[in-house]
């Protein structure tokens, strides 16, 4: 397994499912971050090219060759920055169990969300799961400039648990690649002038930065297959990127988190990339590989993301599926009183490994998970009806 970095030179466009036609006023707007399948596709195509597959003649690629490509697994993409010493500084999507609000005074407070016990007589339409909220009733408005990516250092502290609320720390994170908008025209070939009213817009993600230290943003992926360094295309509109090998490894599960999970026999699972579960928001096979019985007590997600994409194998649009977004948090309980061994095995099998229900989605990189502590306790409602 080695880590590879993709350094975009151009702003990248990762399209949503909307058809982009010649309709004036049409827009191709990028998703704010690429889905793992886009990167998996890029890795597999590179591998295929190395093997001599000719992608200009797709019908000549044999089924077993396609299967070979689809079997290649990739972990990522993880947003990162190249440090002055050449090491990668990782960023992870902001966890959904952190709520940032802004008080009247302007101060920004960070609340830790946990499953809530609403009291026996309160009814909701939610079945089998506990609602998830802050320790007290928070009336302030959500902080409009909450960063969508946190630094690994900040995430690590958050995974280790504790205060129910604190002041938003300085240097928490940032909002990832900036959106850049371009207007395009349609040129008439005979007059070489633009067609009246035919204005299109594309909106891409800018990874190069002119900031304090000017270090570029990169996408990091991990894969076992041999790749080629150098220029390549990624995403829509054939935008150019550069592939390079990196010595950095993805972070390990912090010792404090490991001990906390073993002790309390409960944990939080936070997605680092979007996940695909057959049941929608609930995973089906969590813990099966390590023989643990895991039950989900509560969940906090941002709204599901929709993905379809293009099937190059059969040359048609793929089916629409829904993903649990990165940053979503699952509050898990280990049933049946497992021992330390079993829990450590679970941690090793889940930490920054894909937890999606089906094998192909996992190989595509969907559902990489981080783990954090949770003591299994619920917030009580202060005001009892």
């Amino acid at each position: 397994m080695s880590t590879w970095i993709i350094q975009p030179r151009d702003p990248l466009i990762f399209r949503d499912g909307k058809p982009f036609t010649g309709d004036p006023g049409g827009r191709a707007r990028s998703l704010p971050f690429p889905y793992p399948s886009t990167l998996a596709g890029a890795v597999r195509r590179q591998a295929g090219v190395r093997e001599g597959f000719d992608f200009n003649k797709p019908k000549e690629i044999k089924p077993e060759q396609i299967k070979w490509m689809k079997d290649i697994a990739m972990r990522g993409p993880i947003l990162a920055e190249i440090d002055t010493d050449g090491q990668l500084k990782y960023y992870f999507p902001s966890p959904a169990d952190a709520l940032l609000v802004q008080e009247q005074s302007g101060k920004v407070i960070r609340h830790r969300l946990k499953p809530v016990d609403p009291g026996g007589s309160v009814r909701t339409d939610l079945e089998n799961l506990k609602p998830v909220g802050p320790a007290t009733h928070v009336k302030d408005k959500t902080y409009s400039e909450a960063p969508s990516f946190w630094t690994w250092e900040q995430v690590k502290t958050w995974l280790e648990g504790t205060p129910n609320h604190d002041n938003m720390p300085a240097g928490l994170g940032f909002s990832g690649p900036v959106r850049e908008q371009r207007s395009h025209v349609s040129i008439q070939p005979n007059t070489q002038t633009s067609v009246e009213g035919a204005l299109f817009q594309t909106s891409g993600l800018e990874f190069t930065r002119v900031n304090s230290n000017g270090s570029p943003l990169v996408l990091a992926v991990e894969t076992g297959i041999q790749l080629r360094e150098g220029a390549d295309f990624l995403g829509g509109e054939r935008r150019v990127v550069r592939w390079a090998r990196s010595n950095s490894l993805l972070p390990d599960c912090p010792e404090g988190v490991r001990n906390g999970i073993v002790e309390k026999k409960h944990c939080r699972l936070i997605l680092a990339t979007p996940a695909h579960f057959e049941g929608g928001h609930l995973p089906k096979h969590l813990g099966e590989k390590s023989g643990l019985s895991v039950s989900v007590q509560g969940v906090t997600l941002a709204r599901y993301q929709t993905i379809s994409g293009w099937d190059y194998e059969f040359n048609k649009p793929k089916l629409t599926r829904r993903l649990v977004p990165a940053g979503s948090v699952y509050f898990l309980k280990f049933e049946g009183d497992p021992n330390e061994e079993q829990i450590k095995k679970f941690i090793a099998e889940v930490w920054l490994q894909p937890v999606s229900d089906d094998e192909q989605s996992s190989r595509d990189g969907f559902g990489l998970a981080l783990l954090g502590t949770w003591d299994g306790g619920l917030y009580e409602m202060e005001v009892k009806p």
Partner: protein
């Protein structure tokens, strides 16, 4: 024992964010309101008089054909604890009946959609969350505590955002509106490259007649619902292109009675089939809208030239229009300060009155009300009336709040006010973008100290966004003054750009502010009125000097305000300068 019941219907963002045409946006808001009304009606049926939000003066406002817009959160006091399932069913039933009508309409025109997939997409559409909290009505603090608990639990429940995988996925192309669902229109309905031109035109016409699909748009069942649902209620309401053109037509009619109207008729006479107009009226002065009315959107060369000659004779219409988003300030705190259900009902009734009044104000200003419910208003308007519309909304809201405070004997510190955001966009820009911009403006308005602000963001295709904002009572007064000056053609549009250039050059220098102000006044003295003949009037010059020397407005800010004021003035002269 009583039960405080709150339900929230969604997904709100989805309906509003994926709009492509003004009708999509209007319908999204209308649909949510319809579903909320269905919930409210069912609750009234179970327990008459139980509604707290929305509380209406008369039950008929909750009927489906009534203009009243219900907010998507409904609150009631019930005698039973488990009404949730019944209310959800009432909401789903209303949606089903709306879809049934749409499907019938498509069938009537000869359309053949994938019914199974469509049905599943509709069933899957609605989000419905509810909470029920018991309380003892004899306890003085019972209602208050229950309300706090229910708000908290509802927020926590919403955070789960549970969902299931779609049951309707396939390899079919995806919706052109949001890419999130498969289209249900059969591929055979679309023109192929190998079709003869006649066949192509026929298919394009049919796509429009049967599905209201344009230019190869792929539409899901949800999109079809947006396009075809309830035609009786939105008879050809005006588009954003119409909004942009209204000041031009009016200016022509002012110059000479009936001149603008005559121009429109001349243009209509050039069209092949008036049926395909899709409601375009004033908007026909724009070439893109004129071309839209032809099959396959390609008018013959002679027609296009005739069109251009006709319009050019009169001038150049300004292609920009305004989108207004208004929202009450401090409403949450005000609601929390009120402790009884009856006080909440009084507030809710006032909010319902405001919603109706707002709609009337927008209509009177020749705009289109997309959403008017509670303390939230969304409308699009022509540039020359948007400012006065905003002012009337602000005043109407203030008057109603005064009324509420007297009725509930309020002794607290909070006064809800109305912050207004306005975006000015090109009529061809995607509506969802104009909407985002209007929301940005609304947020900017709320950044004023103690809120109560007005903010305008101008997005011209050629440059960066220009933002101006300030408090009601000061900023709008100045802006109105500037608009009057432009309308009276007392200053030329170029003045603003010269002042901007002055700021750019001198701001990085060591020239003190008084020096910069003096230089600005010197420039103004040199400028002529619009049209370049008369000297700039003394009164105007004095006013400018006062503004320029006032430390609370920067020269750069003033020049931006002037640029925006020029757009809002709507005179033929400024329109020409704008598009030059």
């Amino acid at each position: 024992m009583k039960y405080l019941f709150i339900c929230a219907i969604g997904p709100v963002q989805e309906f509003i964010a994926t709009a492509r045409r003004s009708r999509d946006l209007w319908f999204g808001s209308w649909l949510l309101s319809e579903l909320s009304k269905a919930a409210a009606r069912k609750l009234e049926e179970i327990s008459p008089g139980c509604l707290v939000f929305p509380s209406v003066a008369s039950r008929e406002l909750l009927e489906t054909r009534n203009e009243f817009t219900a907010p998507n959160k409904v609150v009631a006091i019930l005698d039973v604890e488990d009404a949730g399932g019944v209310i959800r069913e009432a909401v789903k039933e209303r949606l089903r009946s709306l879809w049934k009508d749409t499907a019938k309409r498509i069938d009537h025109e000869g359309g053949k959609i994938d019914e199974q997939t469509a049905h599943k997409q509709i069933e899957d559409l609605i989000e419905f969350y509810w909470v029920s909290v018991p309380f003892d009505e004899k306890n003085e603090k019972g209602y208050e505590d229950a309300r706090e608990t229910s708000e908290r639990v509802l927020a926590a429940r919403k955070a789960t955002r549970n969902f299931s995988q779609p049951a309707w996925s396939s390899n079919h192309p995806k919706s052109s509106l949001d890419g999130a669902r498969e289209s249900v229109i059969p591929s055979g309905e679309y023109p192929e490259r190998t079709d003869a031109p006649d066949e192509k035109n026929k298919k394009i016409e049919q796509l429009y007649l049967r599905y209201h699909a344009r230019r190869g748009e792929q539409l899901s069942a949800v999109d079809l619902l947006k396009r075809l649902g309830e035609p009786g209620l939105s008879p050809r309401f005006k588009s954003t292109s119409d909004m942009a053109a209204i000041p031009f037509i009016e200016a022509l009619n002012n110059k000479e009675e009936g001149m603008g109207t005559a121009l429109l008729q001349e243009i209509r006479d050039l069209l092949p089939d008036q049926e395909l107009l899709d409601g375009a009226e004033e908007g026909l002065v724009f070439e893109s809208r004129f071309a839209d009315a032809f099959p396959s959107q390609q008018p013959a060369k002679e027609k296009l030239e005739a069109f251009r000659k006709k319009v050019k004779k009169y001038g150049t219409p300004n292609p920009y229009y305004a989108l207004l988003a208004a929202d009450g300030d401090n409403m949450g705190r005000f609601i929390d300060d009120l402790k009884t259900a009856d006080d909440h009902r009084s507030l809710s009734k006032a909010m319902s009155s405001f919603a109706l009044a707002a709609r009337e104000i927008v209509n009177a200003k020749q705009g289109v009300s997309i959403y008017s419910g509670g303390d939230d208003v969304l409308a699009y308007l022509p540039l020359h009336t948007v400012l006065s519309c905003a002012a009337e909304l602000h005043a109407s809201f203030a008057a109603l709040m005064e009324g509420v405070k007297k009725e509930v004997k309020y002794s607290g510190q909070v006064t809800p006010t109305l912050s207004v955001g306005i975006s000015i966009s090109h009529h061809v820009d995607p509506l969802s973008e104009a909407l985002e911009l209007a929301r940005d403006a609304e947020r900017l308005a709320k950044k004023e100290k103690s809120k109560d602000g007005l903010a305008i963001i101008l997005r011209k295709r050629s440059g960066v966004d220009r933002e101006i904002s300030g408090k009601w009572g000061i900023f709008d007064v100045r802006l109105n003054e500037l608009v009057r000056m432009y309308q009276a053609e007392a200053i030329s549009a170029g003045t603003a750009y010269e002042l901007q250039e002055l700021h750019r050059v001198l701001s990085k220098s060591s020239v003190p502010p008084e020096g910069v102000a003096g230089e600005a006044v010197r420039i103004l003295k040199r400028k002529k009125e619009a049209g370049g003949k008369a000297e700039i009037q003394t009164g105007v010059l004095e006013q400018f000097t006062a503004w320029v020397q006032n430390k609370t407005i920067s020269l750069e800010g003033l020049s931006r305000e002037m640029i925006v004021a020029g757009m809002l003035a709507g005179s033929l002269e400024t329109q020409k300068e704008v598009t030059a």
